[in-house]
């Protein structure tokens, strides 16, 4: 088990280095905007730009630049400076991360509890009215774009512009102070972000449960005389949930990496997604690069967590 984890961690690090190299190549070999020009501001002379280029080390060979960048990242945990804000990228990300973590954590809890419960019940009561309703409903939620769902929810429920003024609306999170206020401000974003995902999870879980319920060991469990509830909970769900664990890892990783961008934008939540959106709109390359690396880290990290969880869930993995 220990060797398994070590192997996975080493793979993760290798993965991050590869990702960083690719990101670096994309942004410096195929620049959408010259960082030196951006930095120099308007009305800058050629000489000034050249000077800035030199001071930023942009006139060095690409491998040297990459080496410098990686040295900064690994030795000083420094991701460079944002051209736009003129502060360290690290600080920018760390300022924005809590809001995203708030958003993602709550949404994960909601989509797991709702999605898995619906999936399990639909699988057991297959072809029932409940099954058909939830599966049709989930299809609708999957098809609805997040920004549309977000705007509709604001229109219906926000306490400023809503038809029913129930929940805090846009920008409430930024002005919230206590954890309770923050949680309240997050209710709509959580629901919106969790809606499509819980629908996906419900469908996955249903399919996985249906597969598992036809396994021979489920028949064995029934033949033992176990109550059906025990058969489902102890024997079926335990197996059916394994493929879901992979999904959770990927989804949480990408959301923390800025994939909650639409929800954050609609609800005006100062998270990593919004930061990324702003950085892209002004070609703030170091920020984009930093967020991408952070995102890669989250994805690699949560995949590692998934792999370890897998080995914990399925004993066969530990020995392979």
């Amino acid at each position: 088990m220990f060797r398994y984890i070590v192997r996975r961690v080493l793979w993760g690090i290798a993965m991050l280095i590869i990702v960083s190299a690719v990101v670096f190549l994309i942004f410096y070999v195929l620049p959408t905007a010259d960082p030196a020009v951006l930095r120099a501001g308007r009305n800058a002379g050629t000489q000034q730009i050249a000077q800035i280029r030199h001071s930023l080390g942009l006139d060095e060979p690409i491998y040297q630049q990459y080496f410098n960048y990686m040295k900064q990242v690994f030795l000083h945990f420094n991701f460079g400076y944002s051209y736009q804000y003129n502060v360290p990228v690290r600080q920018l990300i760390f300022n924005r991360l809590p809001a995203t973590i708030w958003l993602v954590t709550g949404a994960v809890i909601i989509w797991l509890s709702v999605g898995l419960t619906i999936g399990i019940i639909s699988a057991i009561r297959r072809r029932s009215i409940l099954d058909r309703t939830t599966m049709t409903g989930s299809l609708a939620l999957i098809s609805a774009p997040v920004f549309w769902l977000g705007l509709v929810s604001l229109y219906l429920f926000a306490d400023d512009i809503g038809v029913w003024k129930i929940f805090p609306g846009q920008g409430a999170f930024a002005s919230a102070n206590t954890p309770l206020q923050k949680a309240e401000a997050m209710i709509l974003p959580w629901l919106v972000l969790a809606a499509a995902t819980s629908a996906v999870y419900a469908r996955y879980m249903r399919a996985s449960m249906i597969d598992t319920m036809s396994e021979d060991y489920i028949r064995t469990a029934r033949a033992k005389g176990l109550p059906e509830r025990t058969v489902i909970r102890r024997h079926a769900v335990r197996s059916a949930i394994t493929p879901i664990v992979t999904l959770i890892g990927l989804d949480v990783g990408t959301l923390l990496a800025g994939n909650a961008i639409l929800t954050e934008t609609v609800f005006n939540i100062p998270g990593v997604g919004r930061l990324l959106y702003n950085a892209i709109s002004v070609s703030d390359l170091t920020t984009i690069q930093g967020i991408t690396l952070f995102g890669a880290f989250f994805i690699v990290f949560f995949n590692l967590v998934v792999d370890i969880a897998y080995a914990y869930i399925d004993p066969r993995v530990r020995y392979s």
């Binding site: 021979d216 064995t220 033992k224 005389g225 176990l226 399925d314 066969r316």
Partner: protein
């Protein structure tokens, strides 16, 4: 003789599917006494597994229609509510399955799965249940049981896993053990071990056993009686030695001629039964076996044979329209090494010769 332990009376199991009604089991009757072993033999899709799963209520799904009676120690298992049946499952009637690799839960230790079987029906402490698990593993001949109990199924070989399945089935000392193709997934040498184990356990524990198999060779050694199933029905039922010495049904002959025997004449070919098992949705008219029967007569396509006693052979019953005397002559011919082709003339009727293997005529339901 007193009441048999298990008595199946005119059991019918039908499933409604999108393609039509599947007549999986169509009116079968048999009984098993304590300490006896009955073999239920047939091809896949003959209804043999469904009939025994029904006994445990494991076919009670949407669209299943179950008729008839299954009397177990006087209680009718068909009429019993789920909650009552559950108390019998794994307790008084236990079952082992074909594929021990997939029949054990891959995520739980063998000990946990055995303990669970004990705790489901017995109010004992976990420690007692665990001690029982070790004892059970020892009973089924697993070496070093106190260490093996903490291992996962994937750490066991196929034969050892089937032993674990048997141990699990025996956890609560059942009165009846149903073994559904217990050796099919195993190596030949391991097959013999498992069969010997079942035989040995039966003599020690005195339970009744139902062995379900497609392989007459498997049941020959350990059964007292054999029921041959075809298309959801029992077509022949007899004490084991009678099935081998004086089989009556052309399907049974086919099964016997298709298994290799050491005492058969040298150079004799194994003869497969031609054709495929019929669809259980649109079954052939008349005798369900007629499309594959080399000895078919024209009227066999219209008349549905009933399971009737074989004259002069107690305990032997067959559902065949050929006259008993003719069946005897054909089997003696087959046993002497003749083929169905050379024996076919025996069944040819004077007024209307019939070609065997003629295109199967199917009932009004349409083609198979």
């Amino acid at each position: 003789m007193s009441e048999p332990l298990l008595q199946v009376e005119d059991l019918k199991v039908r499933f409604s599917t999108e393609d039509g009604v599947v007549h999986a089991v169509d009116g079968i009757s048999y009984s098993v006494d304590t300490g006896k072993t009955i073999g239920i033999v047939g091809e896949s899709g003959s209804g043999k597994s469904v009939s025994s799963l029904t006994m445990l209520g494991l076919t009670r799904t949407q669209g299943a229609n179950i008729e008839g009676r299954i009397l177990f120690e006087g209680r009718d298992l068909v009429a019993l509510p789920d909650s009552e049946l559950r108390k019998i499952r794994g307790n008084e009637i236990a079952m082992i399955f074909q594929d021990p690799l997939s029949s054990l839960h891959p995520f739980y230790k063998v000990g946990a799965q055995l303990t669970e079987a004990v705790l489901t029906h017995r109010h004992v402490s976990k420690a007692t249940a665990r001690a029982r698990a070790v004892e059970l593993l020892e009973l089924v001949g697993i070496p070093d049981p106190s260490r093996r109990v903490d291992q996962f199924p994937h750490e066991f070989s196929g034969g050892m896993r089937q032993r674990v399945m048997i141990a699990m089935a025996l956890a609560n000392e059942p009165r009846l053990l149903i073994a559904d193709e217990p050796t099919t997934a195993l190596d030949v040498t391991v097959q013999a071990q498992i069969l010997a184990l079942l035989d040995d356990l039966q003599s020690r524990l005195g339970m009744a056993i139902i062995v379900i198999t497609h392989d007459l060779g498997v049941v020959a050694e350990i059964t007292d009686e054999i029921a041959v199933m075809y298309a959801g029905r029992i077509v022949e039922r007899a004490p084991t030695n009678a099935i081998f010495s004086t089989p009556q049904h052309p399907y049974t002959w086919g099964l016997l001629k298709s298994i290799p025997r050491l005492d058969s004449p040298r150079g004799e070919e194994l003869v497969p039964i031609s054709g495929r098992p019929p669809s259980l949705i649109k079954r052939p008219s008349g005798c369900h076996f007629h499309p594959r029967c080399p000895y078919v007569r024209d009227r066999h396509r219209k008349i549905d044979p009933r399971l009737e006693p074989v004259p002069g052979d107690e305990g032997h019953a067959v559902a065949c329209l050929l006259p008993a005397e003719l069946r005897g002559r054909i089997w003696r011919g087959l046993a002497a090494g003749e083929t169905s082709a050379t024996l076919r003339h025996l069944v040819v009727e004077e007024e209307q010769p019939v070609r065997a293997h003629a295109a199967p005529r199917v009932s009004e339901d349409g083609p198979e």
